[in-house]
Each structure stands twice: as structure tokens, then as C-alpha cells.
Amino acid sequence: MNFGFDGTQRSLGDTVARLLQSVPALTAPDLDPRQSDRVYEMLAECGLFALLVPESCGGTGLSLVDTALAVESLGGGLAPPAVIATLAATDAIVRHGHEGQRRELLPKIASGELRVAIALLEPGCGYDPHTMKSTIANGRLTGRKLLVPGAAEADLLLIVTGSGGKPTLALLDARSGGVATQVQESLDPTADFHEVVLKNVAVRPESLLGGASPERAVERLMDVSATLHAGMLMGIAAQMLHKTVEYAKIRVQFGQAIGAFQAIKHRCADMAVAVEAGQSAAYYAFWAIAEDSSDSPRAAAMAKSYCGEVARMVCNEAIQVHGGMGFTWELGLHRYLRRAKVLEHAFGEGAWHNERIVAATLAALIPETNRQWEVA
């Protein structure tokens, strides 16, 4: 038992952080989705996309927990969300792809040759994969997907959809006939969201993931994505805490650094407590999904819900402590605020995951038969 990271894990985090710092455009104030064009390639060159690919398929053969600090760095460095979509898709193919998919796709993902976008949300639906309106019928997929990060640049689309009334995952060529992709305006244009309209797109059986239990593949994709998002959110929160503390040390008002005032100092302390707590939840979720621990759905839900709340609180406080400068465009804090908000709303918000947390906790605590007891 050791709830700490080893040298390799820490070094991965540092490498990604340094690499992203070398691209100032990533955290620049302006909202240009193209400012990060080169980032995907750079991350591929440094081997990020090989990490989760087994050695037998040309990868490094690490597990998700090894990437936790790297994902945090991706969050804090405002790497495009498309990057973690490819990581989540890699896990899905490794765990639930058939031999053909693994052999053909994983080496190309590892080298950065193939990018994958994940399509979940639909109009009028929530986050539950069981309620999606898109469906595969007679080998054809029809539906409309919203807020898909990096869809235009993606080579493959990993689509959460339904088939025979059950959720399933289809992994399709992004250039298949019937696929139309269009940029969507959003609170964070640098997240590069797209609408993907699917009209009678041909889906061969070998394009599906999960074999005989596609539902498990869908569930795992949701848990992995929630955990990766929690990690990104903690990266943002840690970065905001850091910037705020540094500002509080140098900004002088009333003859002293504002960090000497309890109004500021105590707020920074509360931010630090929140970051510590959020990291505890996120790191544990990384471990639990890496190990496929029986509590991993609950751990992922806790991480996503709690870290979303932490990032929200920390971003708000960061702006407040920066005072007037905090709400200027030029300082760029709004980039973190916007990114945190769109990540908070991806793969389940707090309220949705909270419901899952309670359900999972009760299922473990109380055998179903006991639920019907009554109190006089």
C-alpha cells in the first residue's frame, strides 16, 4: 500500500507539464481553437499516446494510474480535451476491442497517427448512455451528437449509441459516408467542440466494441472518461491555486502584500484544502479504474463530482483574489474558468454522479431485501 507516485509517474507528469509550457499559445488569453494545433503532435512525439498501449502492440504498456500526473499536467496546461479522448479510447480498445481492432489500431494510436474523438451527448438527453436516441438498426447508425471535442481532426469516432435497446460503442472511420461534422460555438472555443450528424452510417459488426457485453465497455468508457476529466480539473485547480498564491505574495495594497491579510491568506488555505481533497479523490479513482477494482464506478463518480466542485470553487476564488486583474481578458484566468466549466459538464456533472454514488453505496451496504423494512 502506497498512496504516492513513483519516479516514473512523477517524471511523466513533469515532462508533459514542461512540454505544454513550451507552447505559450495554449494558455494565451485569446480563444483561438487553432492555437494548439501542434500540441497533439508534440504529445505524440513525447510518447503520451503509447503509454496505455500494450508492449505487444508497440506501446509502453503502462496503466491508467501511471498517467494520473500526466493527465493533471494536461489539465493545468490547457491541452485540448481531444487528447484525453484518445487516451480514453485507447483504454476502451485495449480492454474491449477485438483482436483485429487491437492489432490494427493500437500501434497507430501509439505513434500519434490515429486520433480518436468520443461522441456522447445528444439533444434532449442527459448523460445516461441508456437514454441515447441515436441507434444502430439494420447495420446503419443514425443520430446527432453534440459537443464532441476534436471531431474535425479525428480519424476515428468512438460513438456511444444504442443497439437493440442496449447501449453500445461503435468505432467508426470519421470519414465514413453519412458523417457530417461542424464546429459548435461554446463557452470554451479552445475545447474545439463539434456537432456530428450521423445519417445511415454503415456499421459493420467488427466496428463494435465490447464483444458479447457491450454495456460493460460503455460503462468502462464512462468511468475512465470521468476519471480523466477529474484529473484535468485538478490540474486546473492546482494551477489556479499556484497563480493565486504567487499573486498574493507580490500584489501590495495598504502597504503590504495582500497575502498577509487573513481575508486572502485564509481563502488560499481553503483552496489548498480543496485541492488536496480533490487530488485524493482523483488519484484514488485512477488507481481503482487501473486495477478494475470493484468500487471503480463509485470512485470515478466521486472523483468527477468532487473535482468539478473543487475546480469551480478554486477558479472563482482565484479570480476574486486577483481583484480587478482577475476579470481582465489579458491576464487569461478566464481560459481556466471556461475550461473548468466545460470539463465540469462533460461525462456527468455533480448531480448526476452524486446519484450514482448513493446508489452504489447503498447497493454495497444494504442487501436489497433489507430495503423494505419499515419503522413503526
Binding site: 488569453p29 480563444l31 451527448l121 439533444p123 434532449g124 438527453c125 442527459g126 448523460y127 445516461d128 437514454t131 453534440l146 459537443l147 459548435q184 460555438e185 461554446s186 463557452l187 470554451d188 472555443p189 475545447a191 467542440f193 456537432e195 501590495v252 495594497q253 495598504f254 491579510f261 481575508a263 486572502i264 469551480r312 472563482n316 479570480i319 476574486q320 481583484g323 480587478g324 482577475g326 476579470f327 481582465t328 481578458w329 489579458e330 484566468l333 478566464h334 474558468l337 466549466k341 466545460v342 459538464h345 462533460a346 456533472e349 455533480g350 448531480a351
Partner: protein, 395 residues
């Protein structure tokens, strides 16, 4: 205590309501809205203010001598309510021109200054901006460094101001400047009225996190200000600036803002009533309803807090730290409102612009709301004021 209205007050309300029905375009607030472009919107708001003035509805509670109609504070409150009901546009010159400059001049201006400036504020012929804060004088306002040196019958002003709302549209500026650098910092300040057309003034817009540029930096380079354009005494500016700030945070301002929050809350409720998710209406989600209830209550309390302060003034009390209570309350409550709005919009909350629910207005307001607890005196400053001046806690 009595929330019912006298016949005269009811008549005032009826007259205003019928005037508004005529003055606003058909479909206003439903199919017809303000222009999206910031400059066009500024012109639109200025036109609206001039229309209000032409109809006799501008600066209604000012004395008749300066173009007002001597309305009571209650009529002022009715005015705010009716503007809210009609979803009337905000003004460009209301916050600074009317609420700050007008009220400050009424209290501290010379008769000549009142005659010269007040009628043109009320008619919105002249738009005003406020030059108080500086890069190193934010919460610590008394640290302003912008110098004003007396030379003959002029002050020569040099320095930099920041967070100046609407400077790009303004004809005049109220400025807090240092006239004596040798004395204790609060004691060396003066309050000047500066014509924005004077040579030596440069304006640089400051973008906010919402992408808008409501604020500006302002640079003064040997700007000449006639000596008669001082308000109060030389080195007596601090106390006057404090009056200005008390009006900036006062119930008139709070009622105007409450108007806007109420409109947006109603819009949010109607939006959620028609928004479907997973086969049900979002408005029926019990978790979201709890948060909405809190915002409904808080928006109502914003109004009640302001009416209580107005009643205190009616009953003879002076403006005091009650304005800090009001500002602290509405700013944080409004932030909660927009957080709730985005939560309620759910998975599609990240959408912006025409693709977004309700055209993305809640997302824009959410971004804007981040500034509420910072400008016009940060929450930290308001808490100091309440703690020290109202509760009597030691400094």
C-alpha cells in the same frame, strides 16, 4: 410598515406604465432586443435615455431646478419596478452620470457647477465616466498617485486610471487626484471634473473575461483642468469620493440591478419549463428546483433590502454601511443565480451563441457575474466597512 401605495403613487405608476407601453418598440423583450454589438448597444441605450428624458422620466427624483421632477424615493422605487416589468433597456449614463456624478454634485457641488452640469446629465447630452481606481490603488483607493498640480487657474493632471466604465462614450470624467503628496495619504486628494475632450487624455479599452470592453484604462498626460472644476476644497476630495461610493452602492443602483436579475431569472424559469431532458421537463427536476428556490428568494430579498434602505432614508436615517450590506448581498446572490442557471442547463451548458439555450445569455451573464464581487469595492472591502463602521469592530 406599509407596502400599499397612496393614490398619488398609484397614479404615478399608471402614467409610467402607459408611457412605457408607447415608448418601447412592439414586441420588446420578446422578439425585439438590444443590439448585440457593443458600440451599437451603447448608442441604443443613449437614445433610450434621451427618450426617457423627452418623456419626463429621467432623473425623476432630482430637484425640479435641475431638470428633475422632485419625485419621492417611493416613486423612484416604483420607477425601478415598472422598468423591470417592461424589461426596459438599461441606461448608459445612469450608473455614473445620474447615480454618482449627479448625487455627488447635488451634495457637494457649487451652484454654478449644478447649473452647468446637472441639466445635461439628466438630458443625457453629456455622458460621464469615473476615474477613481489606479493599477496600484484598487481596494486601497486612498493610494491614488495621479498628480494634479496647480498652475495659475489650472490643474495639470498626470497619471493613469483603470476600470473606467464607458470612458469611450464619455464627455466628462470625475477624477480622484493627488494634490498634496507630502501629507497622510487620505489628506492629499482632490475631486476634479475633467472634460474628456481635453488634449492629453488617452483611452485604452480593457477586455473583460466575458469578451466585452465595458472598462478602460485612461492615461493623463499634462491634461489641463480649469481650477473651477474642483468639487469641494483642495485636498478635501476623500470625503467627497466616499459620498460618491455610497451612492454607487446605494439602493437606487441595487434596484436597477435587481431589475435585470429578476428579468433573467424569469427567463431562466420559462426556459427550463419548456426545456426537455430524458423525456421530462427540466423544471420538474427536484434538485434543480431547490437551487431555483434559493435564487428566487434571494432575488426577492435584493429588492426588499433596497426598499428597507430607502425606507430608512425616508424615516430620517443617513446613508451608511447599509449600502455595503446591500452590495455584498446582491453580488454573491447573483453569482449563485448564474451558477444555478448553468447547472440547470445541464449537459448542453457549454454551448454558446445561437446554438445555446436562450441564445447563450446565461453563459454570458455567468461570465459577467464574476466581476460583481470585485468592482465597486470588492467583497473584502465591503466586509471591512461593515465590520468596522456598522458593527464597531476594531481596525
Amino acid at each position: 410598515m406599509d407596502f400599499s401605495y397612496s393614490p398619488a403613487e398609484t397614479e404615478f405608476r399608471t402614467a409610467l406604465r402607459s408611457w412605457l407601453a408607447d415608448a418601447l418598440p412592439t414586441g420588446w423583450g420578446e422578439t425585439v432586443f438590444e443590439p448585440k454589438d457593443e458600440d451599437e448597444r451603447a448608442r441604443f441605450r443613449l437614445d433610450w435615455e434621451r427618450k426617457l428624458h423627452a418623456g419626463g422620466w429621467s432623473g425623476i427624483n432630482w430637484p425640479r431646478a435641475y431638470g428633475g421632477r422632485g419625485a419621492t424615493l417611493v416613486e423612484r422605487a416604483i420607477f425601478a419596478e415598472e422598468m423591470a416589468r417592461a424589461r426596459a433597456p438599461e441606461g448608459l449614463n445612469i450608473i455614473v452620470g445620474h447615480n454618482l456624478v449627479g448625487t455627488t454634485l447635488l451634495r457637494h457641488g457649487t451652484e454654478a457647477q449644478k447649473q452647468r452640469f446637472l441639466p445635461k446629465i439628466i438630458s443625457s447630452e453629456e455622458v460621464w465616466c469615473q476615474g477613481f481606481s489606479e493599477p496600484n490603488a484598487g481596494s486601497d483607493l486612498a493610494s491614488v498617485r495621479t498628480r494634479a498640480e496647480r498652475r495659475g487657474d489650472k490643474f495639470i493632471v498626470n497619471g493613469q486610471k483603470i476600470w473606467t466604465s464607458f470612458a469611450q462614450y464619455a464627455d466628462w470624467c470625475i477624477a480622484l487626484v493627488r494634490t498634496d503628496p507630502e501629507v497622510r495619504k487620505h489628506a492629499g486628494l482632490s475631486f476634479l471634473l475633467i472634460n474628456m475632450k481635453t488634449p492629453g487624455i488617452t483611452i485604452r479599452p480593457l477586455r473583460q473575461i466575458s469578451g466585452e470592453s465595458e472598462f478602460n484604462e485612461m492615461f493623463f498626460d499634462d491634461v489641463q483642468v480649469p481650477a473651477e472644476n474642483i468639487v469641494g476644497e483642495v485636498n478635501g476630495g476623500w470625503a467627497i469620493a466616499m459620498t460618491t461610493l455610497a451612492f454607487e452602492r446605494g439602493p437606487e443602483d441595487a434596484l436597477g440591478r435587481q431589475m435585470r436579475f429578476k428579468q433573467e431569472l424569469d427567463e431562466l424559469l420559462t426556459t427550463l419549463a419548456s426545456l426537455k431532458r430524458d423525456g421530462g421537463h427540466v423544471i420538474d427536476d427536484p434538485i434543480i428546483r431547490q437551487k431555483l428556490a434559493k435564487s428566487i428568494t434571494e432575488v426577492e430579498i435584493m429588492r426588499l433590502n433596497a426598499l428597507r434602505s430607502i425606507s430608512r432614508y425616508l424615516n430620517g436615517e443617513d446613508r451608511g454601511p447599509d449600502v455595503s450590506l446591500m452590495k455584498l448581498f446582491w453580488s454573491h446572490a447573483a453569482q449563485r443565480l448564474y451558477d444555478t442557471a448553468l447547472e440547470a442547463l445541464g449537459p448542453l451548458a457549454p454551448l454558446w451563441g445561437s446554438a445555446a439555450t436562450a441564445g447563450g445569455r446565461f453563459q454570458l451573464s455567468w461570465l459577467q457575474s464574476k466581476a460583481f464581487t470585485i468592482y465597486s469595492g470588492s467583497s473584502e472591502i465591503q466586509r471591512n466597512i461593515i465590520g468596522e463602521r456598522m458593527l464597531g469592530l476594531p481596525r
